[in-house]
Amino acid sequence: MMSAQAPILILLIPLLCGLAITLVAQKSKNLAFFLILIGMIGSFSAACSTLIQVLQGSAPIHYRLGGWPPPFGIELVIDHLNAMVLFIVSGSALLTAVYSRNTVIVEIPDRVHHYYTLYALLVSGLLGMVATGDAFNLYVLLEISALSSYALLARGRGLAYLSTFKYIIIGTIGASFYLLGVGYLYIKTGTLNMADLSQMLASPDMKESVSIKTGFVLIIIGVWVKMGFFPLHGWLPNCYSRASTTTSCLIAPLMTKVSIYVMIRLMFSVFSVDYVFNTLQFQQAVVWMACIAIVAGSISALAQQDLKRMLCYIVLAEVGYMVGGVWLMNSNGFAGAVYHIMSDVMMTLCLFMAVGAVIYKTGDSSLESMRGIFRKMPVTATAFLIGGFSIIGIPPTCGFFSKWYLITGAVETGQYHFMIALLFSSLVNAVLFFRIIEIGFFNRFDDSGHGIHQKFEFSEAPVMMLAPMLICAASLLVIGLYTSFILRNIVQWTIPAGL
């Protein structure tokens, strides 16, 4: 009984929790935390149940809201792809909720219950974007998550207000582009249901229609703005790096990956492989743009002196991985991109959590704050190392295997520039992380070049921060080791027909 309702519960539980928090938890920070935890656990277990259902049955689950049949009513459609994304999004939101126990009280002491309300709203917006099967519904949920993320991001450090304001402007442009694009599709087809749209769009005269092409371009640009794809990325590093620790842990891994998911969904479930790659002629150009995104992101990351900004630029480079992988026009590249959605959420989350713990203890986010980390915070350092190795792509962490598939896709289609960009980024990431490891491992030197003896006291972050961090780090290895399982049972099913 409950399992039949699981798809809607995934987003309903956090939504109701958000409501409950704002109503009853004004006085008690503990109650607010308790409620958000309940909400995230509920959402995560519903996502698990959905994932299991999808894995057991081969057909996607259609959940009709209010029993209205499509195309009149809104429906949630859960197939292998979004079951996986739902699982990973709700899972990482749960981990971040646990992690937030200590950080939120320090960073936003006055408004804990409001913070958690927005948190729940953002998560349900993101989960809704992933679950929905309706193009307009997607817009509304996109705006719900965007609005709550604006408010969350604004409570940050330094120039957070200004950078959030810029994000509002750019984010609104992106969302409006998406809405406009959907309008074009609606004019031509008269429907907003994704499955219905794709049937209508399959007819030959639709393929030639300039309106549909314009709609596609507008939609894709709108989504690219949201994910910070080069050259529409300017807002992202400023905004995410100035946010508070919990906010950046929550938003930086999820927002970009959900946007990638939306792009994949629209490209292949609304439009088709044939339309995107044969009727339109952008494929080469997008892969080149992805290469530039990867190279530019990596080089900019190298230039940063602030840990969080560095991570933000790494996120940008990773966006290039996934967009490039999807646009390679190759099943291995596509599989790599989908697998990378999963692994990238976990590895960026792991890194943001580790950096957050360092900031929590030292109050500093510069590279220098990592000095003596191996003595002071060995557990955090271990999580950071594993996350870094995964970003570099060292086996058996999951980063290696996503790169394996992306590169295989590039080799198979002869797009060697994408392979070179990926390898270049791996090398730059190696430099990035070993620069930090060096700072952590070596003391300052005296004139003769010997390490100055510095005593670093053991002072690790609280358990509530360490536990989710370690789960993340372990999941990187687990995902890596179970690559074969994931590919056979999930990723393989997501590859669209004709690729």
Binding site: A151, F165, I169, T172, I173, I187
Partner: protein
């Protein structure tokens, strides 16, 4: 020939051109203006333009508002002639979009207020200037 069809498009389908012009005005405001409040106004124009665009596509020549005459009974239900009524769906959708737009505006203004309190100005160049000092 081409020019002719373009002109006839502009004249007959002027709703699209109007929406496009408004979108352009809005975009200009959002990107080019230095005053942050003017950016917000641009954003609002931009969103309204899209709303107008949607509303106008529901229009049908000579059609009435979508309230079914004598619609109290179940009889005649299948015999409704869709050309007599404008398409209500875009209108309903825009109800949601208006709500979203208002909410965005609200958040933007709230943050703008915060910026003014922190920096004492809402001119972007002055804010950046004050940071250098």
């Amino acid at each position: 020939m081409y020019m002719e069809s373009l002109i006839s498009f502009i004249v007959t389908e002027y709703n699209y051109s109007a929406a496009l012009i408004l979108i352009m005005i809005g975009m200009y405001g959002m990107i080019a203006k230095n005053n942050l409040l003017k950016k917000v106004i641009g954003m609002s124009i931009f969103q309204s333009a899209i709303i107008l665009f949607y509303i106008s596509i529901g229009y049908k020549g000579g059609a009435s508002i979508p309230i079914i005459k004598h619609g109290s009974g179940m009889a005649d239900h299948a015999a409704i002639d869709p050309t007599l009524y404008v398409n209500p769906l875009p209108h309903v959708l825009m109800l949601t979009a208006i709500v979203v737009g208002v909410a965005t505006l609200g958040v933007a203004l709230a943050i703008l207020q915060k910026i003014y309190r922190v920096h004492g100005t809402i001119e972007e160049d002055e804010i950046l200037e004050s940071l250098k000092e």
